[in-house]
């Protein structure tokens, strides 16, 4: 691990700003392990983030990195990909960043099937602003802006991505770290829009309000509830209660946006000559 830190983290940028018990470091570690596993050149990787706890990850990583504006990581990443299609573009975003203020960009990037790998850090809450509810906060949860429990129904962001046109959809947790590395690596390799929902614990702003215990208890919560897709599909509805599938949930092939646009250029230029 120490070697990977030296290789992919910017010198002098640690310690990170995340709270004790936060899972964001595990996900960030999983991203660099996936890059390492694929033996990608650092110069060939760009990481674009939005704003929020998760989105601070870009500053620590020794790639071409952008810490953009709240919710806007996907448009910026789309520009980077179209400007330099050779780059492997990884988007680091949170549940509020991607599905609330950035919700429109999220569905349209998925619809285009542009080759971006979105790692969505889902801690079920707005962490950086101190515990307000997000579109991925489970119904009836407590939040500083829902002191009596949320009335909002949450998205299942994997279903949202699939419905919008994403061609690779996976989920893992900060407990299932090997799987997380593996699905991020698969997402990077997949030519098209990839969503990896990475479920992470926010003991300070979500766990405490919802009496979920400390960081180890929240990791155990992930361990008990995350079930590999193949096993999950064999469960009865009763057994599925309170559980969620992990692993690669959906994968298909479809034309990739930037490659398709390159074909348009080739066609037009051929016609012009």
């Amino acid at each position: 691990m120490e070697q990977i830190i030296d290789k992919y983290f910017r010198p002098g940028r640690l310690p990170h700003i995340w709270c004790p018990g936060c899972g964001n470091g595990i996900i960030t570690g999983a991203i660099v392990k996936a890059v390492d596993k694929l033996a990608l050149e650092k110069n060939d990787v760009a990481v674009v983030s939005g704003i929020g706890c998760s989105s601070r990850a870009s500053g620590y990583l020794d790639f071409n990195t952008v810490h953009s504006a709240h919710g806007r990581a996907l448009p910026v990443a789309t520009g980077v990909k179209l400007g330099q299609p050779r780059l492997k573009v990884i988007v680091v975003t949170g549940d509020g960043d991607a599905t609330a203020i950035g919700g429109n960009h999220f569905i349209h990037a998925a619809r285009r099937n542009i080759d971006l790998t979105v790692v969505l850090f889902n801690n079920n809450i707005y962490g950086m602003t101190g515990g307000q509810y997000s579109p991925l906060t489970p119904a009836n949860s407590k939040a500083t802006t829902a002191p009596y429990g949320t009335v909002d129904r949450p998205f299942d962001v994997t279903e949202l991505a699939k419905g919008a046109g994403a061609t690779f959809v996976a989920r893992s947790t900060t407990f299932h770290t090997q799987l997380l590395v593996d699905v991020i690596a698969q997402g990077i390799q997949h030519e098209g829009f990839s969503l990896i929902e990475a479920i992470t614990a926010c003991p300070i702003s979500f766990g405490r309000q919802n009496k979920m215990g400390g960081a180890p208890d929240m990791m155990k919560w992930q361990k008990d509830r995350g079930v590999m897709l193949a096993a999950y599909e064999k469960m009865t509805d009763e057994q599925k209660e309170g559980k969620f599938p992990i692993g690669v949930l959906y994968k298909t092939e479809a034309p990739e946006y930037s490659a398709e646009y390159d074909k348009v250029i080739a066609r037009v230029q051929k016609g012009a000559k």
């Binding site: 990195t65 980077v80 400007g83 646009y261 230029q269």
Partner: protein, 377 residues
């Protein structure tokens, strides 16, 4: 070789973009700016460039931020309400020093206003629309040929000073058709160039400025790895919220523009040598002002026109000089009174300033302006 065309201002902007070497357009359709997007959708692939219609105005500027980081010259085009939506990311591009040109073809506002009617109501929005303190460059063409030339100029400033530049049209100029002479081949037009790092990647500091206060910018994917953020940052681009770093960061943003006003501030003097009654007008309004000045001169009135081409930074020095000589200054604009406030500040009581404002979705006519000039002589 050149060829003569009858062309709209919006199309001439698109031609100017291609001539400047623009390779990327991202935007969202809004009247009266759509011809810029439509023209570039057709032209860009022919020069190996890319066009993308995004899901909203914010995405339209977000995507060009990303493309600019890869070294491309980029453009987005919009109108009042869309310009408002883009403001947060215009500020981002200011602090992160990302070159780009944002075309705003003004329409009547506030809000949806009158989409197809002319106005000049975004003068202050161009200057102060985004939050915080930052300098901005905004250029205003007054003819179709100038739409072409100023678009190229906008890229010169944007690339040279590493900053967003706003091309502020009004609906009159955007939709007016006029004769324009364009070169057959844009290869002969010098392409504005971004300053590239002269040091090896391990020594590169993305926000370490040279003597001109502008840092070199390495394209993503060129082997230089660096961090871009909208947070106040140090020379490496890493967040640093200390009071000293904050002041240093913001001072340089302002000074790189303020120290170069002689290069950036463009204007036209028309019949100004002996002018006693000076009209200050810009964009579509200036067209009526030329005619009004000519008509006044025919009647023996010593009238002249000062036309700011660079709206921002404000031509304070030039207007102060005019104020020392003129008996009357008339600011004519298609709004309730925006630029006039800056003019009054620069004139500082040295001459009376009269506002000729019109904001009923119609242009200011030469006759109206002539009547105003005559009333003051």
């Amino acid at each position: 070789m050149s060829k003569v065309y009858l062309m709209q201002g919006n199309q001439a902007v698109a031609e100017g973009a291609i001539a400047a070497g623009v390779k990327f357009f991202g935007g969202y359709p809004i009247t009266p700016s759509t011809e810029v997007a439509e023209s570039l959708a057709k032209m860009l692939p022919t020069v190996g460039g890319k066009f993308i219609q995004m899901e909203d105005e914010i995405a339209g500027i977000g995507v060009i931020i990303g493309a600019s980081l890869t070294g491309m010259k980029v453009m987005t085009a919009t109108s009042g309400p869309g310009f408002s939506l883009k403001q947060e990311l215009i500020g981002y591009a200011c602090i992160a020093e990302i070159p780009m040109v944002i075309v705003n073809v003004q329409r009547v506002g506030p809000s949806t206003g009158q989409p197809t009617a002319p106005a000049q109501g975004d003068v202050m929005q161009a200057r102060w629309g985004t939050h915080g303190d930052h300098p901005i460059i905004a250029l205003t063409p007054g003819s179709v040929p100038e739409c072409f030339d100023l678009t190229i100029k906008a890229y010169e400033f944007s690339e040279k000073y590493r900053t967003p530049v706003i091309l502020l049209l009004d609906e009159i100029i955007g939709h007016m058709r006029e004769k324009i002479e364009l070169p057959d081949n844009y290869d002969e037009i010098a392409k504005p160039q971004r300053k590239l790092p002269q040091v090896p990647p391990e020594e590169y500091k993305a926000y370490q400025a040279d003597a001109d206060l502008v840092p070199a910018m390495a394209p993503f994917g060129s082997g230089y790895r660096w961090h871009v953020t909208g947070l106040v940052h140090d020379e490496y681009g890493f967040p640093n919220g200390s009071p000293a770093a904050t002041q240093k960061c913001l001072d340089r943003l302002h000074e790189k523009i303020n120290n170069n006003l002689d290069d950036i501030v463009l204007y036209e003097n028309y019949c100004m040598d002996d002018a006693e009654t000076v009209v200050i007008a810009y964009g579509g309004t200036a067209r009526s002002a030329y005619a009004a000045v000519d008509a006044a001169r025919a009647k023996g009135i010593k009238a002249g026109l000062f036309r700011p081409i660079t709206m921002w930074p404000f031509p304070a020095k030039q207007i102060a000089e005019i104020a020392g000589k003129a008996k009357h200054i008339i600011v004519a604009e298609m709004n309730y009174g925006q630029y006039v406030i800056e003019v009054e500040r620069a004139v500082a009581g040295k001459a009376p300033v009269t506002l000729h404002a019109k904001y009923n979705s119609e242009a200011i006519t030469p006759d109206e302006l002539l009547a105003r000039i005559e009333s003051l002589k």
